[in-house]
Amino acid sequence: MAQFEVDDVHAGYDDLPVLKGVDVSVEAGEMVCMIGPNGAGKSTLFRVIYGLLSPTSGEVRYRNESVLGLSQRALLDHGIAYILQRDAVFPDMTIRDNLEMGAYTAPDGYDLEAQIGQMYDLFPMLEERADQNAGTLSGGQRQMLEFARGLILDPDLILLDEPTAGLAPKIIDQVFGKIEEINETGVTVLMIEQNVKTGLQYADRAYVLEDGQTRFSGPADNILDRPEVRDAYLGGGTDEADGEGGSEARL
């Protein structure tokens, strides 16, 4: 049985349907990459999984248990973390305080200092700048802080939303190196990636989303040679609300 399953999820904003039946299934320890053209519904799917948007129908299961409609606290308690894009750090708080907020829902007996120490081991740069405001970090550094903040509760599954968006090519390799490192410690990774080629090099499997539906899934190798994948990008398909307009508005 898969560790995490998304089953025929439909969702949208007002009367604008965005997800029109998405199925995803992830095995424990896997690294799965979700690709697809602009606005195929990838980010919307994550928002549904993480309780920020209510689906109109469908089911999300984690270890055979429905996790749809749970609070974010409950999802964290289940061991599911959502790691947002680099602009989601709290810019006017120090790096250390950002990490502390990542552990906001920590259970009794949780050793915050030890966990922060572990994160500093994994991302030494963060320790050097522990008392700087996160707003002073570069894009790549913020992404590292995002990782650390999302990992601080030792999740079993992380949802990664475009970890390399807007980063320089040199940094992208570092970021993927870290993701691979994290994955190798046994954390399941489900990520959305715009840098398709690089993402597929690292992932085990890939899903192609197009027009709010799962179009194709399979091993990450050679997926780009498949005609239906190229079609998804440069062929048909329509768009959704949170496409480019959304990401540019955040700038």
């Binding site: 920020l52 989601a88 709290f90 006017d92 708080m93 502390e100 990542g102």
Partner: protein, 305 residues
């Protein structure tokens, strides 16, 4: 035409009043800062403008007056300050949960009118219960004044300044160092990301209202010991002072509001001695409207309604 009536005192005479006015400005500056910090906190975190800010202060003032007269001045402000802070905290939390949370996602008009409704309810309940007369607390606990290099410092005002600074210090320490305080700041910076961290933002908004009004509770208790209380005039001027301070300090910034509060006190008191004392409140309003109109960021209508 409008005469500014600069008074009979010469410029030299007026200048000699500056040191005294400066001291008064410092003292009042801190209490203005405290009230403004409360407003800025609510504004910055929950993105709601509390038009009833002065009315909540009125509640604390009436409680103080009631205790002072009812118990013959026996209850010390040492007890009253935390008591009023706690009372206003509870009122603030309840206000959020019962009322404000219902209009958080409503049209802007509904948000303005919800807190405006609170203005009417609190102010006229006070008028109904306490009557239209001005209440003054005489000789309550602190009395007298001290002369320092020719400048008179009244004890109630001096203590108000000191306690306001202490309360501000506590507020900042709470926001800087505690887990909950950090969660409040996190929620202010990005509500959705805070939610993803598992922070119950609705509870945080309630706490913010509680804290913001607790600050007002402290200020109200202190100000009541030397300033007359009137159900209609008192809240209006305090709300406007807080608005002006928040506008000066950059909307929603607690630290900025503190600086703004102090600046407002200086404008008011130095304006009173250098220009015309009877237009004291006018200077505050003029600064306020000036800042609103000149402020380039945040407040402008850029058509993204």
């Amino acid at each position: 035409m409008l005469e500014l009536e600069l008074g009979l005192i010469s410029l030299g005479g007026r200048l000699s009043l500056v040191p005294q006015a400066t001291v008064t400005a410092v003292v009042f500056g801190f209490v203005y800062a405290l009230v403004a910090a409360g407003l800025a906190l609510i504004w910055g975190v929950a993105d709601i403008v509390n038009f009833a800010h002065g009315e909540y202060m009125l509640i604390a003032m009436y409680v103080t007056a009631f205790v002072a007269s009812g118990f013959g001045g026996g209850a010390s402000p040492v007890v009253l300050v935390p008591l009023n802070a706690a009372l206003l905290f509870v009122l603030g939390y309840a206000t959020y949960r019962l009322i404000i949370s219902k209009v958080m996602d409503a049209p802007m008009l509904a948000q303005i009118f919800a807190t405006f409704a609170l203005v009417l309810i609190i102010r006229y309940s006070a008028l109904f219960v306490a009557g239209p007369t001005t209440v003054s607390i005489d000789n309550y606990v602190f009395e007298g004044q001290t002369q320092l290099a020719g400048i008179a410092v009244a004890h109630p005002e001096a203590i108000t300044g000191v306690v306001s600074v202490a309360a501000l210090g506590l507020l900042f320490a709470f926001l800087r160092s505690t887990r909950t305080g950090k969660a409040i700041r996190a929620t202010a910076q990005d509500r959705e990301v805070a939610q993803v961290m598992g922070i119950d933002t609705d509870h945080i908004f309630g706490l913010t209202w509680g804290l913001g009004l607790a600050a007002v509770g402290v200020a109200g208790t202190l100000v009541a010991t030397f300033s007359p209380i009137h159900p209609e005039l008192t809240p209006t001027s305090w709300t406007l002072i807080a608005f002006a301070a928040v506008a000066l300090g950059g909307f929603g910034s607690v630290l900025g509001a503190v600086a703004g509060g102090i600046l407002i006190a200086f404008v008011e008191n130095l304006g009173a001695v250098l220009l015309n004392p009877s237009y004291k409140e006018l200077y505050v309003f003029v600064v306020f409207i000036g800042v609103l109109l000149l402020k380039p960021e945040g407040v402008l209508n850029r058509g993204d309604a």
